[in-house]
């Protein structure tokens, strides 16, 4: 699992979901409580517009220690371009502190993938 180390006194932690190769699709982002099946935050979005795919994690930053950002993305593969690429980028103060991605070529009509980043407080 990808680990994103954040500063407890830094700016807000942000998670952004991106899709490449101009493939349409949507996603659901869950922020899971540490070592639990409890969802702290849920966000849904799609790739028609890119302005609204960046989300701030709860404050203060400390509460996010050991929490997991879990994103399921479903793309509708639109030929003739059959490449696809999705990315979850976690940033703090403009710096990338964690990133997970998936991609390839697909012979399916749809492609669902999972992106996962664990938030860990810096010592």
């Amino acid at each position: 699992m990808i680990i994103a180390k954040f500063k407890k006194d830094g700016g807000s932690i942000c998670a952004e979901v991106k899709s490449g190769f101009a493939q349409p699709g949507s996603y659901t982002l869950y922020l899971w409580e540490a070592n639990s099946k409890k969802v702290v935050m849920e966000r849904k979005g799609n790739f028609i517009n890119t302005d609204d795919d960046k989300y701030e994690m709860p404050l203060p930053n400390e509460v996010n220690d050991q929490r997991i950002i879990d994103v399921f993305v479903t793309l509708v593969i639109t030929p003739p371009i059959i490449d696809w690429y999705v990315e979850l980028e976690v940033t703090q103060d403009g710096n990338v502190i964690g990133e997970d991605h998936a991609g390839g070529q697909s012979s399916q009509k749809t492609e669902t993938s999972k992106l996962l980043v664990k938030l860990v407080k810096e010592d």
Binding site: K18, S19, G20, F21, A22, Q23, P24, G25, S26, Y27, T28, Y30, W32, S36, K37, V39, K44, N46, F47, I48, N49, T50, I68, D70, F72, T74, L75, V76, T78, P79, P80, I81, I82, D83, Y85, G103, G104, Q105, S107, Q108, K109, T110, T112, S113, K114, L116
Partner: protein
């Protein structure tokens, strides 16, 4: 090593590399979902080298990379290594594909639809030249491009949201360890997902294979006395305009114009020619037949007619085969020549 042997080795290496790419991409991995692949277009550079009488350059929506082989038949109609092959790619998609959003694509469609092609061919004659060609094409209009179709994008987004909801129900029960492949195997998910996809396919699968599209293309040919680019000289320039119009859901009409400026083999002088062509496709995206009529004027005083027919079919995933046969005739129809062509193409 003889030039022909070098060429054969290069072609074999190319085929091996291409096969590995296909294997890595796991094309045969999943068969349950419907697949839609559009025909691989003729690259301008390929059309220039592939000395077939038809001068129409078929337009098609952009792919990242498309590869074409031709002339699998030798002079005695036996199968042999292809005499020419070509690669066409979209620099925009190759360079910026991973970060390309739908809105970026639609704001700069011309850039991502712009394609560059390169091709090479050899002759069986030991004393003949090795030919190289380079070309580009610009898409003026493409109604078959689903990414630019707001209704398609809305329907595709709706489909993905409905599939997401199926996964979400299970994720809330299973927690952050749930994997898509695990959820996909659940019987109720398979059934509901297939229903959603089939409904989407019914609406969009064959919708746009024959959409209206128009393109402008240019290519130039370089002849070299060997495969190491010695004694090169520009030997031909070609310009195409092609437009395709959909006929219902079952056909497509292609209209094309082509101008050539070519160096003579004997006198070293350039001669010009001009063609107007029309071709009709009948069938579906996967299987289709065509009929073509073309008239050409060479050096203002000689005219040549071509009538040909052929079929195109998708063999496997995005691998296509195309066969054409026809009659090329002089103005007086006193001299006629039977012409055939077999192409094998795939888009990556």
């Amino acid at each position: 090593m003889k030039k022909n042997n070098i060429y054969k080795i290069l072609v074999l290496i190319f085929i091996i590399i291409s096969s590995n790419i296909i294997a890595q991409k796991k094309f045969s991995e999943l068969a349950q979902d419907y697949k839609t692949y559009f025909a691989v277009p003729d690259a301008p550079a390929f059309s220039l080298l592939n000395e077939i009488p038809s001068n129409i350059l078929r337009p098609a929506s952009v792919k990242e990379i498309a590869v074409s082989f031709s002339s699998f038949l030798d002079d005695e109609s036996r199968f042999t290594l292809p005499k020419s092959f070509a690669l066409e790619f979209s620099p925009g998609l190759l360079i910026n594909g991973k970060s390309l959003t739908l809105s970026e694509y639609n704001n700069n469609k011309w850039l991502y639809r712009f394609r560059i092609s390169g091709a090479t061919s050899r002759s069986e004659e030991p004393s003949s030249t090795t030919d190289f060609a380079f070309g580009f094409r610009v898409t003026l209009n493409d109604e078959s491009d689903l990414r630019a179709n707001a209704n398609y994008i809305k329907d595709a987004t709706d489909l993905s949201e409905k599939i997401q909801s199926l996964y979400d129900e299970k994720r809330l029960i299973l927690g952050p360890t749930a994997e898509p492949k695990m959820i996909e195997k659940l019987p109720d998910i398979i059934e509901k997902k297939n229903e959603l996809i089939n409904s989407f396919i019914e609406k969009w699968s064959e919708e746009k294979w024959n959409g209206n599209i128009s393109e402008l293309a240019f290519a130039s040919k370089i002849a070299s006395s060997d495969s190491l680019f010695n004694n090169v000289r520009l030997s031909k320039y070609s310009l195409w305009y092609s437009a395709a119009y959909g006929i219902g859901t079952w056909g497509q009409l292609l209209l094309g114009m082509n101008g050539n400026y070519e160096r003579s083999d004997t006198s070293n002088e350039f001669k010009s020619s001009f063609s107007i062509s029309s071709r009709v496709y009948i069938g579906s995206n996967k299987y289709k037949v065509h009929l073509e009529i073309q008239g050409s004027i060479i050096e203002k005083d000689k005219s040549v007619w071509l009538i040909d027919s052929g079929f195109e079919m998708r063999i496997e995933e995005n691998i296509w085969a195309e066969f054409t046969a026809g009659i090329e005739s002089s103005e007086s129809f006193q001299e006629s020549l039977i012409v055939t062509d077999f192409k094998f193409k795939y888009g990556l």
